[in-house]
C-alpha cells in the first residue's frame, strides 16, 4: 500500500518546490536591540551569562590554540569562530543530560556544558590524561559525564547514530532527546538522508542541527546543493523544519527550545538549519585565500555573534565593560597556564597501543604487543616516548 495521497491532474504538472521559500527566524539585531515585533525568549540572567561565558571561552581557546599550532606546539587545530551562537545557543536550550553527537566544530557545546580548559588541553596534546588516550587528532573531544559522544572523523556517521540513540531514549521513556550537529557539506552524505528518513518514519526525538557556514573546506554551498539550502529536504521526509539566523543567540535558543518540545513531547524529529559563516580557515592546515575573498569574510566579521550578544547583555545591564575585561584576562591566563601544564604531561602509557581494541586484549594481539615491547627495549633511543614503559614484560 502506498501512503502517497496526491491530487490528480490531467495535464503534466512539474514542480521544483521553489514555491516553498523557507523563512529565516531572527530576533536580535547586530546592535543588540530586538527587531520590532520580536520578543526575547524566556532566558534568565544566570543562563544568559553562562551562554556568554562559553562563547568567550571558545573564542579565546580558538585564538590561543591556533597560535599554538602556528608556533609548532600543537599539530593541528580547528576553530569555530563565527559559529558560537549557532552551537551554544542550541545546546543551552536543551536539558544538560540530553545527548550531543557533534561533527568537530562544536567545542562551544562542551564549553557550555562545563568541559574544563584542562580537559580540552589534555585532548589537544594527547597526553596521559586525554580521555581518548592520545589516539585521535586534536579536537576529537568526548565526555561521557557531559553526554557528549566522542567525535569520529568520517563525516555524517554520527547523524543516523543520533537517530538510533534517540530511539533508545524514547524507549527508555526518560524524556530525553539527542541533538546532532553537522555541516552543510556533511548533509550531502547518504548517512544524512538515511538518518532523517528513519527518524521521521519512527517518530524519533532527535534534533538535526545543520550548521550552514557556507563552505565545506573550499567548496562553497552553491556547489554543494542546487536547492535553497538544506532545510527544504525536511519536506521530503515530512519532518518539522526551521531556518534560523545562526549568529542570533536568542533566535537559536528559542528555536531549539521549541524543537526540543516537539521532539520530546510529541516525538517529532526536527531539522534546524542555522545560517552562519565559517569565519576561520577550515582547519590549521587550510588557507582560505585560495578560494574566497577577504571582502567576503569582512562582511561576516561585521555580524559577529559574540558582539551581538554582548550588546544585548549590556542593554539589559547584565554585563559591563569591566566584566568583559575581567573575563578576557582571566580566561587568557587560564588558557595559557593550562596549556603549559598539558604540554608537559607524559604521553599515554605504551599499553594503550593495544587496549580498547576489544574489551580485553586477545592472545594474538598480546603476542604482537610483546614483540613491539622487545623491539623497543632493543632500540630504546628510537622510541623515547615509550622506552620506559617497555621495560616490563618478557
Amino acid at each position: 500500500m502506498t501512503t502517497t495521497k496526491s491530487k490528480v491532474v490531467y495535464s503534466p504538472v512539474f514542480t521544483d518546490g521553489a514555491e516553498f521559500r523557507i523563512p529565516t527566524f531572527k530576533l536580535l539585531k547586530q546592535d543588540g536591540s530586538l527587531y520590532k515585533s520580536a520578543k526575547a525568549p524566556d532566558l534568565d540572567k544566570e543562563k544568559a551569562l553562562r551562554i556568554y561565558r562559553a562563547m568567550v571561552t571558545t573564542r579565546i581557546l580558538d585564538e590561543r590554540m591556533l597560535a599554538a599550532q602556528r608556533q609548532g606546539r600543537l599539530s593541528f587545530y580547528m576553530q569555530c569562530t563565527g559559529e558560537e551562537a549557532a552551537v551554544i545557543g542550541s545546546t543551552a536550550a536543551l536539558d544538560d543530560s540530553d545527548m550531543i553527537m557533534a561533527q568537530y566544530r562544536e567545542q562551544g557545546a562542551l564549553a557550555y556544558r562545563g568541559f574544563s580548559i584542562d580537559e580540552f588541553m589534555n585532548q589537544l596534546f594527547g597526553n596521559e590524561l586525554d580521555y581518548g588516550k592520545g589516539r585521535q587528532m586534536p579536537v576529537h573531544y568526548g565526555s561521557k559525564k557531559l553526554h557528549y559522544m566522542t567525535i569520529s572523523s568520517p563525516l555524517a556517521t554520527q547523524i543516523p547514530q543520533a537517530t538510533g540513540y534517540a530511539y533508545g531514549q524514547k524507549m527508555a521513556g526518560e524524556g530525553h532527546c539527542t541533538i546532532t550537529y553537522f555541516g552543510e557539506g556533511a548533509a550531502s552524505e547518504g548517512d544524512f538522508h538515511a538518518a532523517l528518513n528513519m527518524a521521521a518514519v519512527h517518530r524519533v526525538p532527535v534534533i538535526f542541527l545543520c550548521r550552514n557556514n557556507g563552505y565545506a573546506i573550499s567548496t562553497p554551498a552553491a556547489e554543494q546543493f542546487a536547492a535553497d539550502g538544506v532545510a527544504p529536504r525536511a519536506y521530503g521526509y515530512k519532518m518539522d523544519v526551521i531556518r534560523v539566523d545562526g549568529n542570533d543567540i536568542l533566535a537559536m535558543y528559542q528555536a531549539t527550545q521549541e524543537a526540543r518540545k516537539l521532539a520530546v513531547e510529541h516525538n517529532r524529529p526536527v531539522l534546524i538549519e542555522a545560517m552562519s559563516y565559517r569565519l576561520a580557515a577550515h582547519s590549521s592546515s587550510d588557507d582560505p585565500s585560495g578560494y574566497r575573498s577577504k571582502d567576503e569574510e569582512a562582511v561576516w566579521r561585521e555580524k559577529d555573534p559574540i558582539l551581538r550578544m554582548r550588546l544585548w547583555l549590556e542593554s539589559l545591564k547584565w554585563w559591563s565593560e569591566d566584566d568583559e575585561k575581567q573575563l578576557q584576562e582571566n580566561m587568557r591566563r587560564e588558557v595559557l597556564e593550562t596549556m603549559k601544564r598539558a604540554q608537559k604531561r607524559p604521553p599515554p602509557a605504551l599499553d594503550t597501543l593495544v587496549t580498547d581494541v576489544y574489551d580485553d586484549v586477545p592472545p594474538h594481539l598480546a603476542e604482537q604487543f610483546e614483540k613491539v615491547k622487545a623491539h623497543i627495549r632493543k632500540y630504546p633511543d628510537e622510541y623515547p616516548k615509550s622506552a620506559e614503559h617497555a621495560k616490563g614484560g618478557a
Binding site: 599539530s75 593541528f76 594527547g126 592520545g134 589516539r135 585521535q136 587528532m137 576529537h140 569520529s152 572523523s153 568520517p154 563525516l155 557539506g185 556533511a186 550531502s188 552524505e189 547518504g190 548517512d191 565545506a216 573546506i217 573550499s218 567548496t219 556547489e223 554543494q224 546543493f225 592546515s285 587550510d286 585560495g290 578560494y291 604521553p347 599515554p348 605504551l350 594503550t352 597501543l353 593495544v354 581494541v357 594474538h364 594481539l365 604482537q368 604487543f369 613491539v372 623491539h375 623497543i376 632493543k378 632500540y379 628510537e382 622510541y383 616516548k385 615509550s386
Partner: protein, 325 residues
C-alpha cells in the same frame, strides 16, 4: 625531464591525460578551483574548464556511483577520494558495482575507464582516520586493479597506465611521500604496465618486497643490512591486484628468503596472501620462514604512531632473523 615531487607528477599525469583525450574528467571533493586539499588537481579546472574538472558534493558513494555511470557511458573518469580512510562510504559502489560491471553483464557493459585516486597511509600524525592503508579490503574483490606508486616517476607512469587500463583501477597514493619524494620525471606521456613488479636492486641473500611508502623504509633497512655483508634483492610490487607472482617467485628461488612489509595490520593483510602463494611456489627453496613486517592488529594510533608503524629498524630485524634462522 623535470624535477618534480610526487604531487606535481600526479598533477602532470592528469594534465597529460586530459590534454590527450577530452573524455578524461577529474572530480571529487575540493578538486575544482582549489585543486584538491593536497593540490594534486591544481590548475586543471583553469585549463580544462568546469565541465571536466569540478567539485562534487560531499558524498563518496555519490562520487563513485556517478563515476561508474560515466565510465559505463564511455567517459574516462578519474575520481578523487580525499583520503583513503573515506573510501568506505563508496565501498558498495566499488566492490559490488565497479568490480562486477563487466562480469554480470556478460561484457555488454563495463566501467574499464574508471580510475579512483586516494591518498593513503600513516606517518603524518593523522591518527586513526587519516592514516589507513585499505588495499587488502579491495584485493579480496575480483575485478579491480590496485596500484601503489613509490616515487614521482612511478606515480606519473603508473597513473597514466591506470587511466588507460581497460579495467576499474584503484590508485593509492602514499601521502607521506607527496612532497618528501622528489625526482626526475619525463615531460612526455609514458605508461608503466600494471601487474608487473619491478626489481629495484638485485641481490643474492634475501628478497625484500613492499609497495608505496614502505619502499623508502626497505631501502633504509637494506642499507643497514648490506653494511653487514647481507646481499639484498629489493622488489617494488607496484600492483597489488593482480600481483606479479612470477617476479617475486623467481627472486625467492634465487635468494631463498623473503620479507614482505606493509603498513596495514597483520591479520588479513596482503602480505599474508603473498606469503601463502610464495610458500606454495617456492617451498623447497626456502631457507627460512617468510617474514611479515606490518602494522599491528589495532586501529592506527596517533601519539604512538611510531611504535605501530613498520619502520626500517623493524624491517632490518626481520632481515637479520631471516638470515640467522
Amino acid at each position: 625531464m623535470s624535477k618534480m615531487n610526487m604531487l606535481q607528477a600526479i598533477n602532470n599525469a592528469l594534465d597529460t591525460a586530459m590534454a590527450e583525450n577530452e573524455k578524461v574528467l577529474c572530480f571529487g571533493e575540493d578538486v575544482g578551483v582549489f585543486g584538491g586539499v593536497f593540490r594534486a588537481t591544481s590548475n586543471l579546472q583553469q585549463k580544462y574548464g568546469k565541465a571536466r574538472c569540478f567539485n562534487t558534493p560531499l558524498v563518496e558513494q555519490g562520487i563513485i556511483g556517478f563515476a561508474n555511470g560515466l565510465a559505463a557511458q564511455g567517459s574516462v573518469p578519474v575520481a578523487e577520494i580525499q583520503f583513503a580512510d573515506y573510501i568506505f562510504p563508496a565501498f558498495d559502489q566499488i566492490v559490488n558495482e565497479s568490480a562486477k560491471f563487466r562480469y554480470r553483464s556478460g561484457n555488454l557493459f563495463d566501467v574499464g575507464g574508471l580510475t579512483i585516486r586516494a591518498p593513503y597511509g600513516g606517518g603524518i600524525a593523522g591518527g586513526l582516520y587519516h592514516s589507513q592503508s585499505p588495499e587488502a579490503y579491495f584485493a579480496h574483490t575480483p575485478g579491480l586493479k590496485i596500484v601503489v606508486p613509490r616515487n614521482p616517476h612511478q606515480a606519473k607512469g603508473l597513473l597514466l597506465g591506470a587511466i588507460h587500463d581497460p579495467n576499474p583501477t584503484l590508485f593509492f597514493e602514499p601521502k607521506r611521500m607527496y612532497r618528501a619524494s622528489v625526482g626526475e620525471v619525463p615531460d612526455e606521456d609514458y605508461r608503466l604496465p600494471l601487474g608487473e613488479a619491478e626489481v629495484i636492486k638485485e641481490g643474492s641473500d634475501i628478497t625484500l618486497l613492499g609497495w608505496g611508502a614502505q619502499m623508502e623504509v626497505i631501502e633504509k633497512a637494506v642499507e643497514m643490512a648490506e653494511k653487514e655483508g647481507i646481499s639484498c634483492e629489493v622488489i617494488d610490487l607496484r600492483t597489488i591486484l593482480p600481483w606479479d607472482v612470477e617476479t617475486v617467485a623467481n627472486s625467492v628461488f634465487k635468494t631463498g628468503r623473503l620479507v614482505v612489509t606493509h603498513e596495514a595490520p597483520l591479520t588479513g593483510g596482503f602480505a599474508g596472501e603473498i606469503a601463502a602463494t610464495i610458500q606454495d611456489r617456492c617451498f623447497l627453496y626456502l631457507e627460512s620462514p617468510i617474514a611479515r613486517v606490518t602494522g599491528i592488529d589495532t586501529p592506527f594510533p596517533l601519539v604512538l604512531e611510531k611504535e605501530h608503524l613498520p619502520n626500517h629498524l623493524k624491517v632490518y630485524e626481520a632481515i637479520r632473523a631471516s638470515v640467522d634462522f
